[in-house]
Every structure is written in C-alpha cells, then in structure tokens.
C-alpha cells in the first residue's frame, strides 16, 4: 500500500518545511505549495488524502479556499486541518466566517505553533496510520 498523500498550503515556506518534515518523519508523503492560486489545480491532480491549510495568505484566505474545496465534488470529503496563527483553537467559531450552512466546518483547527504529537495524532485519526510507517514513530 502506497503512502498517504498530504498537501500543505501555506505562504510561509518555513511553516511548510516544518509540517513536511513532521509528516515525512511519520511515513506520510507530503507536498507543499505557497501559491494558493494554483493550489486547487494541485488538489485536482494529486487527490490528497488530507489537506493542511493556512488562513492568512496574500491572494485568497484559507477560509475562502476551504469553502471552494467543499463545493467541489472531487474534494468535498477530503479531510482538512486548518493550521493558523490567527485562530485560538478553543474559541474559534467557523460560522462567524462562513455563514453558509451547507459548508460543514473543517475536521480540525490547530493554532500555530503546533504541538507535534497532537498534530500527528490528529492526522492519524483522520486518515489512519500509514502502512509504510517505519521512521520517527516512537510509539
């Protein structure tokens, strides 16, 4: 069984590099893009198992991109983790940003900087432990 694919969308290259390193160390295959304009195209080509999404980006907010993901049949059910510096994960209310009830909140919100263990646990919950996991998994 091939590795699960995870797409990271964040305009901060260092954040993307960090998340990639964490995911790769846990046996997932990671892809990163800092350009939200071409991100949808990448989602369509790659069919990732999970998407990690930032909110504050220059050309489009992560919230708006997320709404588009959910309106597209091909990405409608792809799990999404929003990782952002502007959210307080406990108080964050998705409905203040997206009024449209037909768009469900994303599977998970996470505040920057992330706790690596919590992050990986969440990824596993959402797409399962990767069959090819052999590195970095200390459990």
């Amino acid at each position: 069984m091939s590795s699960k694919k995870i797409l990271i969308i964040d305009d901060e290259p260092d954040v993307a590099a960090y998340l990639s390193a964490v995911l790769e160390a846990n046996g997932y295959k990671s892809y990163a893009t800092s350009d939200i304009k071409t991100a949808m195209e990448q989602v369509m080509n790659l069919h990732p198992d999970l998407i990690c999404l930032d909110i504050v980006m220059p050309d489009e907010t992560g919230i708006s991109f997320y709404s588009r993901l959910r309106q597209n049949n091909e990405s409608k059910t792809t799990p999404v983790i929003i990782v952002s510096g502007i959210i307080d994960s406990e108080k964050f209310d998705f409905r203040t940003y997206v009024k449209d009830d037909s768009i469900p909140p994303p599977e998970c919100f996470m505040e920057k900087p992330i706790d690596v263990d919590v992050y990986i646990q969440k990824v596993r919950e959402l797409i399962g432990k990767n069959s090819s996991t052999e590195n970095g998994d200390k459990n």
Partner: protein, 499 residues
C-alpha cells in the same frame, strides 16, 4: 409709472367685402371690444369709467359709477403718477406699468396702454382708453427664479470675462462674504492669480459644461470642499459673455469620510494587535520547525537535515530582530531630529544603496532630482527609512508584477512651497481592498518576506515632519507613493527643535 414706448395708434380695416356695412363694422368692433384678451376701460376727464369690457369686469369687479382709481387700486383719490392724466394733457398714447388690486383683493402687476380718444377731429381729448394686461405670471416667475437662485443649496456665481464675480447667490454670500466685483480666485481660494485647471476658463474657451472638485476658503477661514460645474451664458451665438458656476458644498461629506477613516483606523488598532500576534506565531512556528528538523538530522546523522533546520532557525531569529526593530521604530513617539539637508542627495543615497539589488532582478532604479530644490530641515535617519521602505516596496512590486522592462523612479521636486519625494514603479500595482488596509495593520502581501510595518512606519515619520503620504495605483498598473512636506511646517518644526 414708467413710460416704455409709444405704440402705433392707426388701425385700418379695408371695407371691401360687398356685404360689409357700417352696421357690420359696429358689431365687429363691439365683439372685439368684449373678446380681446385685454382689460379695457374708457375713462373721461374726471376719471369716471364710462365703459369697460367684460374681461375688465371679471378682473377688477363692477365699475359702473366708479372712479378709475377706486376700481384699479381701491383708493379714494387719483394716483400721483397717473399716466392717463398725461394722455389727456398731451394727447399722445402712453404705455406704463402699475400695481393694482383685483376684485378679490389680490395684488396685481399690469401693463397699461393708454390711448387718447377724440370725438371731434381737432377737439381736445375727451376720453382715454386704457388697455391693461396683467403680468403677474411673469412677475411670479421672476420671483421663483430669484428664490431658486438664492435658496437652492448650492453656491452660484456669475463670472465675467475678467474673472470678476458679477452675481452671487445668498448661499455663496453667506459662506464667502459679499464679493461682487472681486476676482473669483481671490474669493474662492484667496489666490492672487487664476487657478490651475480652472473649469470656468475652459467654459469661456469652448462654451461647454465643465466639472471639477475644488477646495476653497470661506469668509471665516474655514475649508470648503466643493464640486463645481461651469456653464456658459452666451453673447449671441458664438461667444461666451459670462460663466455661471454652480457648486455643491461637499465639506460635510469629506468630514464624514475622514471620520470613517478614523473609525477604520481605531478598528485597525485591534487588528494590529491580532496582526502582531499572527506574525509572532509564524516566527515561533519557524523556530520550532528549525529545532525539530535539526534534532531529526542529529538523530539520523543527516547533515543535510541539520543544515536545513539551522537555516530555518537563523532565518526566523532574523525575522524576530527585524520585527522588533520595526515595532520599536513604529512605536517611538518623538520629534524628528531636523537638520538642514539637501533633499536630492538623500534620494541619491538610496539610489546608490539599491541600484545593484534592483538590477539583480532586472529592474532599473532611476532618479530625477530638480536642482532648484533648496535645502530643507529633515530628519536624515527618518527620511532614509521612508525612502528605503518605499523603494524596497517598489522593487518587490516589480518582482511580483513579473513583467519585463520594469523600473523604479525616485523624484525630488518642489511645487507651491511643498517639498515632494515621489517613488513610482510600474510593477504589480495595488488594488482597492489592499489600499484601504495599507497603512492600518501589520499588513503584508509578501508572505514570509515582510513584517507589515514598513508603510505604517513611513507614514508615521512623514506625519512627524508635518507632511502627508499619498498613494495612487491600480492593480496591475504600478504604483506611485508621494510624500509631501509643506516648507512652512518644516520651518516651524525646525524652530521648535532648536529651542
């Protein structure tokens, strides 16, 4: 009573129809007397009305056995300036205008044609025929026009070819003072010469309507913003004799606009704190990431990973430093340290500093320095920071625009006692949404490349110099940032600094 002109008195009808007789003629004249759209009364030398048509009766009421002045004016003695008296005396017809009272007691303005009637060819004038036509309607229009002119909530002036005001409505006089005969530019703007881009001048030239937004000074020294439209009053068909300027006062709107901006700015304080937290969290994430990757590399003895992690650490420590530096210079509240400097050489320093960096990305950094610009009191470090920020922004915009042949131009000039620095690029431009936020938050479009404090700091320094900063840009078409420093304010600050 005013004599207007002498009307013709001879009316000839040619009785050349067979059936036409003296009797028919009589009937025709009687019909005409009754139906003609005039009020007609015949008066004898003692001012008794001896005959009148039905129009007259309908208008002034019953007349039998009454004196003309009782009927026309409801008074008990002859009028002082009676035109009919003149007709009896001289035997010539007279036209006059007068104010009387109709049968319902309403004031009425009329024009009277008074004709002498002689029964004997060489005898004296025995009767006077008064034909009156009311002009109350015209009069009312005039009044309406006057009220409109004065009360319409606009400023209206009529300007002659010599740019002197020949008429001004009440609203204008109230706000600009009594100004008839003065030059419009003196009155509107307290200038001694014609304004640049004067819309009235254009209308004088082409006779067409022109519009423009202007700022003037009222009689109490208050700023008045107005939107003016100029129309031509033609002399004949081809030359403009006067220009009417109709202006809408938009001062209140401007003030409201300023309040909205203030409110937005206050809202932005909250956003600024959130923005600062966001920047810090991203930096922390980079530091954590660097640490994680270094330890990953150490565990696996992977030198490449260690290097990657170490670079991330370095980069994010640098970011912390520049964030703190920007934040400090932003929050510093101080008077600028002014020194007499040549503004042009400040600009040239920046060109030297950035020329090579710009060239690396294929961008030409140019400068245009007006040699007539004299030394001015400026804070060298502050202006250096401003120009650095603007130029590096312009270079980034050119890189983001991804076009060929991009350039950044710094100009130093002086217009009307204002020292002006301008940084212009033909890069990616700024759209409206971003323009709104540009000075208010830790706003950056540069992803990891900016702290979002550069322009905020720039504006602060410019304001500390008593100046202002203006942006003009369209998405995709480059941007122009202008810093304006009025000399007067710079000098005032300079004196303050020295004390």
């Amino acid at each position: 009573m005013v004599k207007i002109h002498q009307p013709r008195t001879e009316i000839k009808i040619k009785p050349d129809v067979k059936t036409y007789s003296a009797k028919t003629e009589n009937i025709i004249f009687r019909e005409m007397f009754q139906q003609i759209p005039y009020n007609i009364a015949v008066i004898d030398r003692d001012y008794n009305i001896v005959e009148a048509n039905s129009n007259f009766k309908d208008y002034f009421g019953s007349w039998q056995n009454k004196k003309c002045y009782t009927v026309y004016k409801k008074i008990n003695e002859p009028c002082k300036d009676c035109p009919t008296k003149e007709v009896f005396k001289k035997g010539d017809p007279v036209v006059a205008d007068a104010v009387g009272i109709d049968q319902y007691g309403r004031k009425t303005h009329y024009v009277a044609h008074v004709l002498p009637i002689k029964i004997k060819r060489d005898g004296e004038v025995e009767y006077a025929m008064e034909m009156t036509r009311t002009v109350t309607e015209t009069d009312r229009w005039q009044q309406e026009y006057q009220i409109l002119f004065d009360r319409v909530p606009c400023y209206i002036t009529v300007i002659g070819e010599d740019y002197r005001i020949v008429r001004a409505n009440e609203a204008f006089r109230e706000n600009f003072g009594d100004v008839l005969g003065h030059h419009c530019y003196k009155v509107y703007k307290r200038r001694n010469t014609k304004c640049r881009n004067c819309p009235a001048e254009k209308t004088f030239k082409d006779g067409k309507v022109h519009q423009s937004g202007q700022q003037g000074i009222g009689k109490k020294g208050q700023k008045i913003h107005y939107a003016v439209s100029t129309s031509a009053l033609m002399r004949g068909s081809d030359s403009v004799a006067h220009v009417i300027e109709i202006s809408n006062d938009i001062t209140a709107m401007k003030k409201l606009e300023e309040k909205v901006i203030d409110a937005e700015r206050l809202g932005a304080v909250g956003q600024t704190v959130a923005g600062l937290a966001h920047s810090i969290k991203n930096i922390l994430m980079g530091l954590e990431g660097g640490k994680y990757i270094v330890s990953l590399g150490l565990n696996k003895n992977d030198k490449e990973k260690i290097n990657q992690g170490w670079e991330m650490l370095e980069r994010n420590f640098d970011k912390t430093t520049s964030l703190v530096k920007d934040f400090l210079s932003f929050s510093k509240g101080r008077l600028p340290e002014l020194k007499m400097l040549n503004p042009g050489s400040l600009a040239l320093e920046i060109v030297d500093l950035y020329k090579a960096i710009a060239a690396q990305s294929g961008i030409e950094l140019k400068s245009e320095i007006d040699k007539n610009v004299k030394a001015a009191p400026l804070d060298p470090a502050g202006i250096h920071t401003c120009l650095t920020n603007l130029v590096s922004n312009a270079i980034d915009a050119c890189i983001m625009g991804k076009q060929k042949g991009t350039e950044v131009l710094i100009t130093v000039s002086e217009i009307r006692d204002k020292l002006i620095f301008e940084v212009k690029d033909n890069g990616s431009g700024i759209d409206y949404e971003i323009k709104k936020k540009i000075f208010t938050t830790f706003f950056t479009t540069k992803g990891g490349g900016g702290t979002g404090l550069g322009l905020l700091t720039t504006r602060k320094i410019v304001q500390e110099h008593g100046g202002k900063i203006l942006i003009s840009s369209k998405k995709g078409k480059g941007a122009k940032f202008t810093m304006e420093f009025p000399r007067k304010r710079l000098m005032a600050l300079y004196k303050e600094c020295k004390v």
